[in-house]
Amino acid sequence: MTRIAVVVFPGSNCEYDALSGVESLGADAELVWHSTKDLSGFDGVILPGGFAHGDYLRPGALARFSPVMDAVARFAEEGGAVLGICNGFQVLTEAGLLPGALQKNAGLKFLCHPTTLTVTSTDSVLTAHATLGQELVIPINHFSGAYVCDDETLARLEGSGQIVLRYVDNPNGSRGDIAGLANERGNVVGLMPHPERAMSTLLGSADGRVLLESFVAARVRA
């Protein structure tokens, strides 16, 4: 059975949603405290949403120095599947595991509503089971979700298929309508929308399932 670690920072608040999301897909998931230095035995690691370390300084700025982040970097280097959702995405960019940065939303509003995304690459642990061009309705819930990067980085991301999800109606001013992106190997993915909150049609959408299914099934380690 796939074993997934959900990292809990002081201030995380989506860890139970993430836990229950992957558990509902058959994974054996476990919450791990941010002081953990060892992630051996896990097949995947999720950095959940929330406000790690109060988002003081910048979202993710202090979380990237939590002891667990060295282990996450090693885990990623060894080809393990890493997923950063919302605040987790911000932590991954601050840690340099994904390029670019997340800035305050263009309209300076905290945005909390469903968004429609297009799958623009299936070469990642999050989108492998989705189909190219597929539209997914998944909620966002953030203040600092505007993706920024320089021209050179954007061109590289476009060329290499690392942009895995784009907004249909860009809600926050993200460059290139980027909602989610992967590293070059496709084993580290970050996205601002919350797939773990789109697991049931009863609660609005089940479109997050295909993403978390991909993640639970991921066996990258090349």
Binding site: R58, E94, A101, Q103, A106, L108
Partner: protein
Amino acid sequence: MNFLVVVEVTLRRGIADPEGATIERALPALGFSGVSNVQAGKSFRMNVEAENEDAAIEKATALAERLLSNPVIEDAVARLAEVHAT
């Protein structure tokens, strides 16, 4: 020696600054005209123990680049505020 150092962190040129833009748009309504290029940023003050001024600035610049700013989107400048007698 103990130096009081101020680090200012601002968004790099070309990075959208919605906070600065919003402040700038609010000014005319309050009767302030002729104010442009408003930039929002952060300021940090700290006491830095170092051999001399240059070493204090160097230490503050290093910590500003490592922690206080995100070099992808922000610039950090450290300057001396005053010297404490120690």
